[in-house]
Each structure stands twice: as structure tokens, then as C-alpha cells.
Symmetry: C2
Subunit: 229 residues, 2 copies
């Protein structure tokens, strides 16, 4: 957590968030009104926060990672826009360390060169669009970071990604998988494009697929920037 | 700065970094040995850090943003690899808030959907490769974040990027430009793909180009995640 995030939470009158995240910051919450809800209720949660702000209270919506990367920031702005202009509350986003930043640090230095960030969740995005993005990122030799690579119900997409990328990259391309990056239960493994889908991957995993230059050394995944040493 | 970064700096015996960044953290440096150098001396700086670590001291290399995104992390690992295996020091990367995280927060919520991160610096990467990445990211409707968009000597690349992307996206596509994100002198402007290169852009700027769904509302740039509200 950044200093700024801590300050903003301490200054809030009301803190809104997913229950699990609220529990991680109880030491900052003394005397505040708390609105916590379960998973998958993000629209209700953000709407509650906006309505409390309209009543004139200083509200903080907490999330893990960076709220600006596939996070709650956009939803809050979109909900605010549904209210008349003259009562819309002011919204400020405090940046954070997203799963892609955290997972890269655990793996070594895979993001030293251009990279594409793609969510494999097709709940809100057509699968054809996701496939096209993987194809284009593969063909232009981007390092590729995958959010939401797999869930209990959604297991085939990661296999299709593997097939697409094998048309563009060596089967030996390093692939890193980090679970619960920067959290309790963190685990990391480095595999290859040929074999990585045999590793444990779930909705708490972040997958980073190297570019054509990425190599593994002493158990770390490194994409060279291109310096002559 | 994150709690973890602060802890690690406080625990170091030696702190190595670019002079400007060292000056930002003087309150953490009491009693420590400091190795600071000017810009463009990053190889010397990292080599000095590695050699001090080999002597047995606990060294921290500081950088701004996230050392894992176009940062010093890779260079440190690459230099370590040049030494015999039995004397290589252990390296840990502490993730941070990169310019792309910080600029997105300033602009609103542009990174709610898949995005590509591209550096326009052709010092270490052939321009043809950079162009291809811009083309592919444009054709697959990625939000695009540009690091090193322009410098005093390098002014034409950003115009070429504009031309490439105008073949794929509306001239009205929102484009955000943030200078000195999260630092003293921060400035931000939201323009359009048609006109953004008329704004001030320099080596301290981060440019974010929206996808086909990105819109501007109340002065903020928002890429919808796709929720039905």
C-alpha cells in the first residue's frame, strides 16, 4: 500500500469495499462507517459509495491492486455519470500496484520491454476480440500479461492462447505464473510456452509470457532491454 | 512509495541511484553510504551496486516508478549474470507504481480494458519493430500507453504513431497526456487522436490513447469495462 492510499483511507468518513479487502485494513478503520459486500457485487458497492458521497460524506472505495487497471475506478465514474451534473461528487483515483507489477517483480524482470495486458475473462468481452488481441500481441513480439487466465468454469481459453502463441514463438519461450502476488499464499513458477498450461492456474493467477528475447537465469525470468554490457 | 519500498531502503547499508531520486528520499538515508550518479549512467550505477553487494553489503538500487517496468531491475539481473555463479548476490525486486499506473489515475479510468505499453525510444529498439507494435495494437483495439513519446532530438515518431492509429481509430478518440505524473509539476491534458501532437509532449510525458469505446466525461477519460448499469 502506498502512503497516499493510507492517508486517503484515514481521512475517509465511510469506507466501502469487498469484505476480504476490508478485513486486510481493519487497523485503519477505527470510528469509520463501513459498507462491505461479497464478491460479484461491485456495481451495488460502487453505487452505494456514490450515493453516500452525494449525501455529502467523504467516501473511499477500497480495492486490491491498482483500481485503475481493470478495477473499480471506471465503474465509479460510470455510475457518477448517471446522476444529474449538479450533484455529481468529485472522484479521485489513487494509483496502486497492480497484479502485473507485483507478479513481474516476483518473477524477476520480464517487463523490461513493450508488453500487452489482456484479460481472458469473456464475461464482458467477446471471446473473438480477446483472441484477436492475443494474436496481434503474439505477432508483434509483445511480452504478454494475462489477467483472469482461468477459472473453475472457464478452462479452455488458456489452451487456445497457448495454441495461438505457439504459431508465433518458440515452445521454449519462458512463461511465469504467479498466484496471489504480494499476498499471503504467494506462489510462483516459471515454465515454458509448450508446457505452462500443465501448471496450476486459477482466478488468482497472473500469467506472463515472454517475448522472443526473454530468458531464464538462476530461476528468474528476464527480458533484456537491449543494453550492450 | 510503498511501505515495503520504505522498509527495504531503511534496511540497506548502501543506497545507489540517480542523483535526482536520491534527493527525494534524503530523510531515509541517515548513516548510509550513498552512490549517486547522473542520468544516462545506469549501467555504471547498477554495476557499482552489484560489486558492493558482492563485497557482502546490503545494497538498494532506487529508481522512480516501478523498477520492473522499463526500469533498473533487468539491468541489475543482466549484470549479476556476468559474475561467476558462486559469488552472484541475491536480487529482489520491490514493485512500485509505474508512470502508466500514475498517469491513468490522473486522467480518470482509461485502463479498464486490455492495453498495450510501448516505448517510442528507438535507442535500444529498431523503429520498424516499434511501428509494427503500434500497428498491431491499433488494429486490435488496445488502449495504448506510450513511454518516452518524444524528446528534444526525437520528435517525428509521435507523429508517425498518430498517422498509424488514424487508420484504425476515429480522429475523435480521446488521448490523455500526463507530465510528471505523481510528482512536483504534474500536468495533464485530454485531447484527441486528431490533435494531440499539438500539445506539449516531452520525455517526462506519458501518453494514453483510448480504444474505440473510450469517452471523456467531466474532464476525465474513461474506458468502459462493459458492465450494463
Amino acid at each position: 500500500m502506498s502512503d497516499k492510499a493510507r492517508q486517503v483511507i484515514l481521512q475517509a468518513e465511510v469506507v466501502v469495499g469487498y469484505r476480504t479487502y476490508i478485513e486486510l485494513i481493519t487497523e485503519l478503520l477505527g470510528g469509520k462507517q463501513i459498507v462491505s459486500t461479497g464478491m460479484m457485487q461491485e456495481i451495488d458497492r460502487c453505487r452505494a459509495a456514490v450515493e453516500i458521497a452525494i449525501e455529502g460524506k467523504r467516501v473511499t472505495v477500497v480495492s486490491s491492486g491498482d483500481p485503475g487497471i481493470y478495477g473499480m475506478a471506471g465503474l465509479v465514474y460510470e455510475i457518477v455519470a448517471q446522476y444529474p451534473e449538479n450533484i455529481r461528487p468529485e472522484v479521485t483515483v489513487i494509483p496502486g500496484i497492480s497484479a502485473v507489477n507485483a507478479a513481474a517483480a516476483v518473477l524477476g524482470a520480464p517487463l523490461m520491454h513493450d508488453f500487452a495486458v489482456i484479460s481472458l475473462s469473456d464475461l464482458l468481452t467477446p471471446w473473438e476480440m480477446i483472441q484477436k488481441r492475443v494474436e496481434m500481441a503474439g505477432s508483434a513480439d509483445f511480452v504478454i500479461a494475462l489477467y483472469n487466465p482461468k477459472s473453475l468454469k472457464r478452462t479452455t481459453q488458456i489452451e487456445e492462447v497457448r495454441k495461438i502463441l505457439l504459431r508465433h514463438r518458440s515452445p521454449l519461450t519462458p512463461v511465469g505464473i504467479v498466484g496471489h502476488a504480494s499476498r499471503m499464499g504467494q506462489r510462483a513458477v516459471i515454465s515454458s510456452l509448450e508446457r505452462f498450461t500443465q501448471e496450476h492456474i486459477d482466478m488468482f493467477s497472473l500469467v506472463i509470457i515472454g517475448n522472443s528475447q526473454t530468458f531464464v537465469q538462476d530461476g528468474r525470468m528476464i527480458t533484456p532491454r537491449g543494453y550492450t554490457l
